[in-house]
């Protein structure tokens, strides 16, 4: 059992969220096109609803805690539940690590393209989530990236980010076609 009950904390955060959301709804501009019920009506209602519900959650939890202060601890963790307890900071750190790997992918894939991005992702996650020998990881990442590329780009025909390669390629070909030396060579060949 943690010092502050997690439901009470969540309830308080939600109350703040509800107020912020309501204020956001209040600042939605008025429009002559909105008809009888305005664009802000449902959002405002939702804000109030969330406020009430989170207040109920807080009160409910406080009451329940008073009723059975000692039994509450048992309720905390179900045996067959995978989700970590709130106080398990080590596990949150692992989750954060995986999240950062994902952010890294988003940055990489836009700059160096899909294949390298996927290879990085596969290698990074494998190493982070248990690891393997260097050769296995490299093999898995490379083969995996090729597999993903074949599946998504070739078979399913989906466009994936290409990174800076096409631009580079374009510049290379541009430079070549301008260069007189090059034109001369290609003309003779």
């Amino acid at each position: 059992m943690t010092f502050v009950n997690k439901d009470i904390a969540a309830g308080i955060v939600l109350v703040i969220l509800a107020v912020a959301y309501w204020l956001g709804a209040d600042s939605i501009p008025k429009s002559l096109l909105e008809g009888g019920v305005g664009a802000e009506a449902l959002p405002k209602m939702l804000g109030i609803l969330l406020l009430i519900l989170s207040a109920v959650l807080v009160l409910q939890t406080i009451l329940a805690r008073r009723q059975k202060a000692e039994a509450a601890a048992v309720e905390e963790d179900d045996a067959d539940d995978d989700a970590p307890a709130v106080s398990n900071y080590h596990k949150h750190a692992r989750a954060l690590g995986l999240l950062l790997i994902g952010i890294g992918y988003i940055i990489l894939v836009e700059t160096v393209g899909y294949i390298i991005g996927v290879a990085y992702l596969l290698a990074a996650v494998t190493l982070f989530a248990g690891g393997a020998s260097r050769r296995t990881v490299i093999l898995f990442a490379v083969l995996g990236a090729v597999f993903f590329w074949v599946l998504f780009v070739e078979i399913l025909g989906i466009h994936q980010p290409q990174g800076f390669w096409p631009k580079l390629w374009h510049q290379v070909t541009q430079a070549q076609s301008i260069s007189p030396a090059y034109s001369a060579t290609s003309a003779t060949l």
Binding site: S27, P29, S31, L33, H159, Q162, W165, Q174, T185, S186
Partner: protein, 322 residues
């Protein structure tokens, strides 16, 4: 040696990025022209581009491929186009959507950062009602709305759509008291007209011609400067005095700024040949598209006017971004 390097490089590039092999073409400044669309694969705009790419390739003398810059209703396409090479290799398929996006969601790059090259088509809009409606023309419907305040119900497509703007414009001009009810899209509006939720609707003829042929719907008026070849008996809104001016949906090409004038001239020439091509003509007439060729000068002016009317509408009706 250089040739070898270049061949290897292009082989790698081809296999990596699956660019269609460029046929040896001399006529156009580049081998391959890519037309980008923000519409999804399989959507109406996408299919239209695929239809036009073959004749365009023929008359331009270059490969024409269709690719996607989806996301943000054209915001991403404008951002990409603004920095694309200005050599005639990259174009954006324009529809009014990107202008709406520019005005309402205020992205970094807007219609101001790109340039208009040629227009191909107009998408004609018509007013329609259920076959058993008491109205014969759109004028009857407008007169009814003026005479019976609060009784009439008109349906437009999505919230900020051109279809809705047309109705709001007429409502304001005639001082009618009428509920104009927006829908998800043209299909949602069609249901509302068929089940009597609204009295009349406005939509693209292409979406409605099946129902009109089957006798479920009747056209009440055409929202174009002139009557349509496929609906010769239906009067225009101008003829009926319902509106004094029409805003029309367009389909053309935009490019990055700074494309050389000679290149633009080549595209203008090809566009005119494309529209005159007899095989392609059959195809687009079936899709109810009206050829509306405009060269660069005219197109720039047209879009400028379009932007003005849109901006004014949003301002008048208080539709603004946050």
């Amino acid at each position: 040696m250089r040739q070898v390097v270049r061949n290897t490089l292009s082989a790698v590039a081809l296999s990596l990025f699956a660019i269609a092999p460029a046929a040896a073409q001399e006529a156009y400044p580049v081998d391959t022209v890519t037309i980008y669309t923000h519409s999804k694969p399989g959507s109406g705009s996408d299919l239209f581009l695929r239809a036009i790419s073959a004749p365009l390739a023929k008359y331009l003398g270059a490969n024409v491929i269709v690719d996607y810059w989806a996301g943000g209703s054209g915001a991403k396409a404008m951002a990409n186009l603004a920095v694309a090479p200005a050599d005639g290799s990259a174009f954006y398929a324009t529809t009014p959507t990107h202008i709406t996006t520019s005005l309402l969601s205020k992205p970094d790059k807007t219609y101001k950062d790109i340039d208009y090259i040629v227009n191909f088509f107009y998408d004609p809009e018509i007013f329609y009602a259920k076959a058993d409606s008491p109205f014969k023309t759109i004028k009857d419907a407008v007169d009814f709305a003026v005479a019976n305040p609060g009784k009439a119900k008109w349906g437009g497509a999505s919230a900020g759509s051109l279809e809705r703007q047309i109705l709001e414009k007429i409502k304001k001009a005639k001082g009618a008291e009428v509920a104009i009810i927006p829908h998800e899209d043209g299909a949602g509006l069609l249901i509302s007209v068929l089940n009597g939720t609204v009295d009349i609707g406005v939509g693209e003829l292409a979406e409605l011609s099946g129902q009109i042929e089957a006798g479920e719907l009747k056209p009440l008026g055409v929202y174009m400067p002139e009557r349509l070849p496929n609906l010769p008996d239906v009067p225009t809104a101008l003829e009926l005095g319902v509106d004094s001016d029409v805003i029309i949906k367009f389909r053309g090409l935009a490019g990055p700024k700074g494309i050389p004038a000679e290149t633009v001239a080549l595209i203008e020439a090809a566009a005119q040949k494309v529209l005159a091509d007899p095989d392609f003509k059959k195809e687009y007439e079936k899709l109810n598209l009206i050829p509306g060729y405009m060269g660069q000068e005219e197109y720039r002016g047209y879009v400028g006017k379009f932007v003005e009317s849109q901006a004014k509408f949003y301002e008048d009706f208080g539709v603004t971004a946050e």
